[in-house]
């Protein structure tokens, strides 16, 4: 990969967080660590992430809440749930809320890497689609009416994409 995948890992268990972060960094991921929901959301405001690895049971904001917020505010981030508290119901719920994957703790590295890869590909596809859309819209605007209208419409486009 030319660019490192920007990965946000959210888990309240510090030792675990360090461990998994190190391993993924060694494999070329650009890892940011967050130990609770609030930190995670703050981080996404600073930088655009490709994928987030999210624990469910955390003090303060629950993992599902974080999932909801992430999917609402940042449509392009793919969230993979990584939890020791797995159940079928929980998996279904999270999927409905927009999670890309649902993995158990302890994790198998190979499976994790595979899921990350798939998530990234999906992310790229969406990004490509999004870029195509944007180009189409730009082209439409460009062939539009007055310069002022063009400016206005471009601003609207930006706002939409936020």
């Amino acid at each position: 990969m030319s660019e490192s995948i920007k990965l946000l890992i959210v888990d309240d268990e510090v030792k675990f967080l360090d461990s998994i972060a190190q391993r993924l960094e060694m494999r070329g991921f650009d890892v940011t660590k967050a130990i609770n929901g609030n930190e995670a959301i703050d981080a996404t405001k600073q930088k655009q992430y490709d994928i987030a690895l999210l624990d469910l049971k955390m003090p303060g904001m629950d993992g599902k809440e974080v999932l909801e917020i992430l999917k609402k505010d940042h449509k392009y981030i793919e969230v993979i749930i990584l939890t020791g508290h797995g159940s079928l119901e929980s998996a279904v719920e999270c999927t409905k809320l927009g999670a890309f994957g649902y993995l158990p703790k302890p994790y198998e590295l190979d499976k994790l890497l595979e899921t990350l890869k798939d998530a990234y590909e999906t992310r790229m596809m969406k990004k490509f689609e999004q870029d195509s859309e944007r180009i189409e819209k730009l082209m439409k605007i460009a062939t539009g009416s007055s310069p002022l209208a063009i400016l206005r419409e471009m601003r609207e486009l930006d706002d939409d994409e936020k």
Binding site: K15, F16, R23, P59, G84
Partner: protein
């Protein structure tokens, strides 16, 4: 350890055996009182009524015999009197007759009745003029001073009957004397009667009816009596009142109560007394038939067998119930732990994840692809230390779980309630509540007295209540655990800020298998088992709740030091 357990178990089994023997005995007593006692009372009552009835009928029977006999005798006497009067009134009657004429008259009388044995004729002065009969008489006597003669002369009636005496051949005789007015004076004809037939007839009644018949005069002398009872002219122990013509009575004769009936004669002042034979028992057991006895014993015997069988069965049932109850308790305990297991699983998975991750990291670091220099793994001590810590965390968690699930005998020891609670909360719930955003507040009374209780069972109850509190809350929320004393009881309040309990559900709360959780999520056993545990301790569980605001469960334990 196993050896201790088997000794403990044998001791426990012995106690249980004794307990069930006691239970069986209690059931026997209870069932006997319920079934046997009424039956026995009924039997006694009916026996009493029956013997009364028999007594009454016996009395009536005696009375009817007495009346019959009296009537019979009256009739006989009347007939004899009529015989004599007819004779003396006959116009052909010679006055005075001589012996041979009298003899003819005697023969005449004998055709009327064989009872006539002899006759005398007396003039108005009471001198015996003539005699006819079996005795060879030399002299004739003066009867003017005889009471019967005097009475007869004075009497309005034309006849008089004397009492019985031992006469000719030492046999019982009595006399009937009739008078006839001849001009101004009076003549008397007297006949002696020895009524063998009548006597025979009267005494034969005795054999037929199991009675004794006797004839007694107004002074109480036997006129007629059977040999078994007494001798002629002896005093009868029974003398009925003259005023009453017919009646019954009881008299103690030789230590037994004798029932009798009597009937006074019309013709003479004699009374017929009819009484029970000696060998009748009167009183309570009167009429006790052997057959009835056998049947009664049979019935009572069967009932006793049934009672024993039932008591045994009931004791057995209670024993089984107890076994099931303790199984239920254990099942509920497991269910409680099961509910907790979900949270516990997360707890164990985390340290396991750390361990596996660190292992993976060490392997990565020793992988040439990732820059391993072939000499040593950088920072391996830290990784190993992390793994060790995590492993110990797992051990602690499983140990906690197992300590709870172990089947312990009830062990009553002295404890401080606050310590038990702390141990439980810090041990089980600390992390749980940390991640689920539920605040735990402890509000202990520092001056809690020590009490004697079984910590395992108590922990099971508290665990169950705190689990419920947790389930009721949608985070954020708070669970408050308070301890206090009230009226010789220790109270533990477990309050939550959860969704509360509806009014119609509160009454069903402690019923087994009642749950407000979705299917598969709750067994409904927790509260009912907790409740029965607390009841066994002599305490209880109370609940107050405001739907939407929260609930408070209060566990009470008696202070038993």
């Amino acid at each position: 350890m196993p050896k201790e357990k088997s000794q403990g178990e044998t001791h426990k089994n012995l106690l249980l055996e004794k307990h069930y023997k006691d239970l069986k005995r209690k059931h026997i007593i209870r069932l006997s009182l319920m079934y046997l006692l009424p039956l026995i009372i009924l039997i006694v009552y009916f026996q009493f009524q029956y013997s009364n009835m028999l007594n009454d009928s016996k009395t009536m029977h005696l009375q009817s015999i007495a009346e019959n006999q009296a009537n019979l005798l009256d009739l006989f006497l009347k007939e004899r009197v009529v015989n004599l009067i007819n004779l003396i009134d006959n116009p052909n009657f010679d006055i005075p007759p001589d012996n041979s004429t009298l003899q003819d008259y005697l023969e005449l009388l004998k055709t009327d009745s064989k009872a006539f044995t002899d006759i005398d004729f007396f003039n108005f002065r009471g001198m015996e003029i003539a005699y006819a009969g079996p005795i060879k008489r030399k002299t004739y006597n003066d009867y003017s001073n005889e009471i019967w003669f005097i009475d007869l002369k004075k009497s309005d009636q034309r006849y008089i009957i004397t009492d019985v005496y031992l006469g000719f051949r030492q046999e019982p005789h009595f006399t009937i004397a009739v008078k006839r007015y001849v001009g101004d004076s009076v003549v008397v004809l007297r006949a002696t009667l020895g009524p063998k037939n009548i006597y025979k007839y009267m005494t034969s009644i005795e054999g037929l009816s199991d009675v004794y018949v006797s004839l007694v005069n107004v002074k109480g002398d036997y006129q007629l009596v059977s040999n078994k009872l007494g001798r002629l002219l002896d005093k009868s122990p029974i003398l009925p009142p003259r005023e009453k013509k017919i009646g019954t009575g009881e008299k103690y004769i030789k230590n037994s109560e004798v029932k009798y009936a009597y009937s006074w004669l019309n013709e003479v002042d004699w009374v017929v007394i009819v009484r029970d034979s000696w060998h009748d028992n009167t009183g309570f057991f009167f009429g006790m038939d052997v057959n009835i006895l056998i049947v009664s014993f049979l019935i009572v015997g069967i009932l006793v067998l049934i009672i024993f069988a039932r008591a045994k069965k009931m004791a057995l049932m209670e024993r089984e119930k107890e076994i099931v109850r303790s199984q239920l308790e254990h099942a509920s305990k497991l269910a409680s732990v099961g509910e907790l297991a979900a949270g516990i699983a997360h707890e164990i998975n985390n340290p396991l994840a750390i361990i596996t991750s660190e292992i993976g990291l060490i392997k990565d670091k020793m992988n040439p692809e990732f820059g391993f220099n072939g000499k040593s793994c950088d920072g391996i001590e830290d990784h190993l230390e992390n793994m060790r810590e995590a492993a110990y965390r797992c051990r602690d968690i499983t140990r906690k779980l197992l300590s709870f699930v172990r089947v312990d005998d009830v062990l009553m020891k002295e404890y401080n309630i606050n310590e038990i609670l702390d141990d439980l909360i810090d041990g089980f719930f600390e992390r749980e509540f940390a991640v689920s955003n539920i605040e735990i507040v402890k509000d202990y009374d520092p001056k809690m007295p020590m009490i004697i209780t079984d910590s395992n069972q108590l922990r099971q109850v508290i665990l169950n209540l705190v689990n419920n509190a947790q389930d009721a809350i949608t985070p954020p929320g708070r669970i408050t655990i308070a301890t206090r004393t009230e009226n010789h009881f220790i109270k533990i309040d477990i309050s939550d800020t959860g969704k509360g309990i509806k009014e119609d559900e509160i009454s069903k709360l402690f019923l087994p298998f009642f749950t407000t959780k979705e299917t598969g999520k709750g067994t409904g056993l927790g509260l009912s088992v907790s409740y029965s545990i607390m009841k066994n301790f002599g305490g209880g569980i109370d609940v107050e709740s405001i739907p939407g605001k929260g609930s408070t469960f209060t566990v009470s334990l008696p202070i038993n030091k």
